[in-house]
């Protein structure tokens, strides 16, 4: 909260020092205010086109998106919800795929040796390039968007879970060996429980990535109901209404933050009191 406030202050300070001239005039509590500010210098990055005033961005949420239409904030919220849904579904796909791969790798050296390089390589391919291919190959509307999202989210989960599934003390594995425990019992009673803190750290990264994945996936899918269409739309009108793109950006990040926050809540519910050190940073 303090950081947010500081960002806003720095933002307006930059505009105060190097933005475009601006004036306030109107009547507040019966007092006529007429104030004009002429910044001492001029910085390109602080002008009204690059950095609209905080209040202009705030007002963009309330102003109607189209003449006589509902406020932009409401329209964006609807689009955000749509994108969020895609992100969640992709996150679940990706999470299950990631965890499944990790469980497979932990039981098969051969599979790990053979496939981990490709798992890593999959993330070096620009998602921007691969998403149109996925979308045109699957032709499944929002479902293909979820697949693009899963493509982006399975990776941190695989890596995190793989680490977590091996995190238990070597002696604990020997203890299970002394009980003649089956591989399945070792998985459920030792590997999975000790992987949870690692898994959740990975899921938080995956949650943030899933929103990006959903937005990128929407572009080639040509989905008009999500945040991607808002971004493209307000990009085109940036010269006349930059505050709208800013408002959209803010909402995108809010969606990501909410998602990460939900994962953290689940983590707290599931792990608190059951694990010694729980760093919910």
């Amino acid at each position: 909260m303090v950081v947010l406030l500081a960002v806003l202050v720095v933002w307006e300070l930059a505009k105060w020092l190097g933005g475009d001239p601006w004036r306030i005039h109107g009547t507040v509590l019966g007092l006529r205010i007429d104030y004009e500010h002429l910044p001492p210098t001029h910085w390109r990055i602080a002008d009204d086109l690059s950095l609209p005033h905080v209040w202009d961005v705030a007002r963009a949420f309330v102003d109607p998106a189209q003449r006589n239409g509902p406020p932009l904030g409401l329209v964006l919220a609807g689009q955000a919800l749509f994108t969020f849904r895609e992100a969640v579904i992709g996150f679940v796909f990706g999470g299950l795929l990631g965890l499944g791969l990790a469980v497979w790798f932990v039981h098969s050296r051969l599979a790990e040796r053979a496939l981990v390089p490709y798992v890593v390589a999959s993330q070096t391919v620009p998602i921007l390039a691969i998403s149109p291919i996925i979308v045109s190959a699957t032709k499944a509307g929002w479902l293909s968007v979820a697949i693009v999202t899963a493509y982006l989210t399975f990776f941190p989960v695989t890596i995190g879970a793989l680490r977590g599934l091996r995190a238990a003390d070597q002696r604990a594995f020997e203890l299970f060996r002394s009980y003649a425990a089956s591989n399945r019992q070792i998985l459920w009673l030792l590997r999975l429980p000790s992987s949870l803190p690692y898994l959740f750290a990975a899921l938080r990264i995956a949650a943030a990535a899933s929103v990006i994945g959903a937005i990128i996936g929407e572009i080639p899918a040509g989905i008009p109901d999500g945040l991607a269409s808002a971004i493209i739309n307000y990009n085109q009108y940036y010269v006349t209404a930059p505050e709208r793109l800013w408002a959209t950006i803010i909402l995108c990040s809010v969606v990501g933050l909410v998602f990460v926050g939900l994962v953290k809540v689940a983590e707290g519910r599931l792990l608190r009191g059951r694990y010694r050190t729980l760093d919910l940073g």
Binding site: D169, R171, A172, E174, L175, F176, R177, S178, Y179, A180, A181, Q185, L189, L190, P193, S194, L196, G273, R274, Y275, R276
Partner: protein, 293 residues
């Protein structure tokens, strides 16, 4: 004929009395690594441990005492020789869940409560829920941790955690208890108290115990026999019979015979003073070998 040794003692193995021995090793060798970097950890280990005995393995680090314990528990396999546990090959005994294991660290599962930690082996072995609860209740009482069943491991002190580990090892009534320096990480006072408690538990459960330690007083106080080992390569240097009264109490540590036996073990150890450089070599080879496997 599966139980070779038990059915016909002496028929296929030269040793007599295999049937009654809980642990029986013949000519056991263990080499870590291969080629020029290979290090022999154990050589010619012939040892027989009878039912109800409490046998300590003592020796300087690198003498292979932990390795021997791990061989008995089938946590690693011998390079040569034979190990029988309850008359069966060690691997069979492990699959039959014939022994409980206690390590130097308690190795408790953080996410399980104390009671559920004790129940872990029972859960793996498929005991019904109420049976498990009854057993963990009894064991909590045995190790004097009643009222701690609902706590998590990190909420207990080191000594208490080790008591939980012992309770867990006893949960399924194993005929054999393998303990690898279980009190090595505890302070002297806690260790002495734990020794007394272990004696009490041993008296109540009539389990056979193989106990690895590097503390001479601990070995003498607890054991019916102390196996003194020497390094380079690990061998049995001497076996000291501990003819102290069966009931070990605080007074035991003040008996003259106790001090005599402590001196005996100490001298047996001194006669086989190790060469430190090779000890490090052995340790390094062991770590290399285990890292590979």
């Amino acid at each position: 004929m599966t139980d070779v040794g038990a059915a016909h003692p002496g028929a296929s193995t030269p040793a007599p009395d295999v049937g009654r021995a809980v642990v029986h090793t013949t000519g056991v060798e263990k080499t870590f690594g291969t080629g020029p970097t290979a290090v022999q950890a154990l050589e010619g280990i012939d040892l027989e441990i009878g039912e109800g005995e409490f046998v300590s393995l003592i020796g300087p680090s690198g003498c292979g005492k932990s390795t021997l314990l791990r061989l008995i528990g089938d946590l690693t396999t011998p390079s040569a020789g034979q190990i029988l546990v309850n008359g069966k090959p060690a691997s069979r005994a492990r699959l039959d869940r014939d022994y409980g294991m206690v390590f130097q660290a308690p190795v408790l599962m953080d996410w399980r409560t104390i009671a559920r930690n004790i129940e872990l082996p029972l859960e793996i072995m498929g005991f019904p829920r109420d049976e498990r609860a009854r057993r963990s209740g009894e064991l909590l009482k045995l190790v004097e941790l009643e009222g701690f069943g609902g706590k998590h491991p990190w909420q207990l002190s080191g000594g208490m955690q080790q008591r939980v580990a012992i309770a867990r090892a006893l949960a399924f009534d194993p005929k054999l208890l393998l303990m690898d320096e279980p009190f090595g990480a505890l302070d002297e006072m806690t260790r002495e108290r734990m020794n007394l408690e272990l004696m009490k538990i041993w008296g109540q459960t009539a389990t056979t115990v193989v106990f690895v330690t590097h503390s001479i007083p601990e070995a003498v106080f607890l054991s019916t026999r102390v196996v003194v080992m020497s390094p380079r390569p690990g061998r049995i240097a001497r076996i000291v019979e501990i003819d102290l009264p069966h009931q070990r109490t605080v007074e035991t540590r003040e008996l003259e015979r106790y001090f005599e036996l402590v001196t005996q073990v100490r001298e047996a150890l001194r006669r086989h003073e190790p060469d430190t450089t090779t000890m490090d070599e052995l340790e390094a080879a062991r770590i290399r070998a285990e890292g590979l496997g």
